[in-house]
Assembly symmetry: C2
Homo-oligomer: 262 residues x 2
């Protein structure tokens, strides 16, 4: 096939060249995404233990990709805040995502125990009348006071999540004097009620953080957050804890096992 | 407490007033987020069956919030693309999120069956040498050809997800002639192998879509996507399907049950 660099020479031929150029760009973007996904997995799985990614040339060979594709893939990971380029060093891992278990109902401190210390900044706490949708889910009369808690949760000092929590007041009152700064609400609920938690209905979404939530989480404007809505029941079935949790997308992953048959 | 409107009169008093004003703004933003989360739940749970939210005054009464807080909460939902304001009508629901089951391993068409028809645009399909991290997870030799498939998946014509899929070639070859446009890979895998799928290891993340992925998904630049990485095994344990899936955050939720004890 004859090649053509002469966009100016001939309108039809020029259009073809522009189209071919666009197609190449699209293809490279597709390939960069494909490579970025593989590298992201390696990165999250601790596949670069010394914190440095292989040189671009090595990546190009390993993944049978062009240098340009490799660079573009690394740019994608950099835009996600996972890696950075250091002159003279190469591409280094700058962020870690922590795995939140999806298989068992666990509090944040429990699930992240091996990764460090979870502390909670209580931004708001107090009784407030339950709006209808809260009352309905917690099985209390609408307008009855429930305990409302708002916490910014940190792992080793870094903001991880912003949690809004509603708890029936007969249980919630005992939480008012508890060490919420250092203890999961789950553990406190089990201590207060003397019962184990049973199950929770959860819903996960990805949303762009609004300006105010992003500021609280110290995340960039519009940052992707993993939103978790969770209604937790005691082992006797009573709903006791309704939560709306915004996890920073760049700091948390949720992992679990699914089975084909129940 | 005496009120002060005189920021200009007295520097100290002015600073106090500015601080008080900031505190009020922060408080209102917190309350707006709290209200928005409750309305979002209602909205996703089909709590507004006629597609219209109650009037701002009614919401203010129901949720004991100020009109300004209600407006700000509705602005948050509007920014997420869930509602819109129509002059003379009020606030209407403009987007639906579809619930993807998290309790059982299911293909997209299976899990969304009651919501409409899933179609798949195959963007790329063909054998390609398996990079090391793919080979390792699919239990094939690195560099061995695997089938690579890239699909844009739609529900009732609307883009839902962009899926990158790797399948061992001994199974993948039979997929080349299959009706991928209208059939879940899961179903095809079970037909081809004559075996049921067993389990899958999944990881969920929230990420901001890169420019190219956003364009393919017809989502705004930087839109939050729910990223699902899934390694699916046959019932005999063999890994047969490695996928990297980007769901549009504004179209999909993942719901399931968690238990405290396994």
């Amino acid at each position: 096939m004859p090649s053509s660099n002469s966009i100016r020479d001939h309108a039809g031929q020029g259009a073809t060249t522009v189209a071919a150029h666009r197609a190449r760009r699209r293809l490279r973007a597709d390939q960069a995404r494909q490579l970025a996904d593989l590298l992201r997995h390696q990165l999250l799985a601790g596949g670069f233990p010394d914190g440095t990614l292989p040189h671009e040339t090595a990546l190009a060979t390993d993944y049978r990709a062009s240098r340009n594709t490799v660079r573009q893939a690394l740019d994608l990971l950099r835009a996600e805040g996972l890696v950075d380029r250091l002159p003279g060093v190469g591409t280094v891992v700058v962020a870690q995502k922590y795995p939140h278990g999806l298989d068992r109902l666990m509090g944040l401190a429990e699930t992240l125990r091996e990764h460090g210390r979870v502390t909670n900044e209580v931004r708001t706490m107090g009784p407030a009348p339950a709006p209808a949708p809260v009352a309905e889910r917690l099985h209390v009369q609408p307008g009855t006071d429930v305990l409302y808690i708002e916490r910014l949760r940190r792992l080793n000092g870094l903001p991880l999540s912003l949690d809004l929590t509603y708890i029936p007041l007969d249980i919630g009152t005992a939480l008012l004097g508890a060490d919420l700064e250092n203890t999961d609400v789950f553990r406190l609920l089990e201590t207060i009620t003397g019962k184990r938690l049973g199950h929770a209905e959860i819903t996960l979404e990805a949303v762009n953080a609004d300006t105010h939530s992003a500021a609280v989480l110290q995340a960039p404007h519009g940052a992707a957050v993993l939103m978790l809505e969770r209604l937790t029941h005691l082992s006797d079935g009573r709903p006791v804890d309704l939560e709306f949790i915004r996890f920073r997308g760049d700091r948390i992953t949720m992992s679990g096992l699914l089975h084909r048959s129940l």
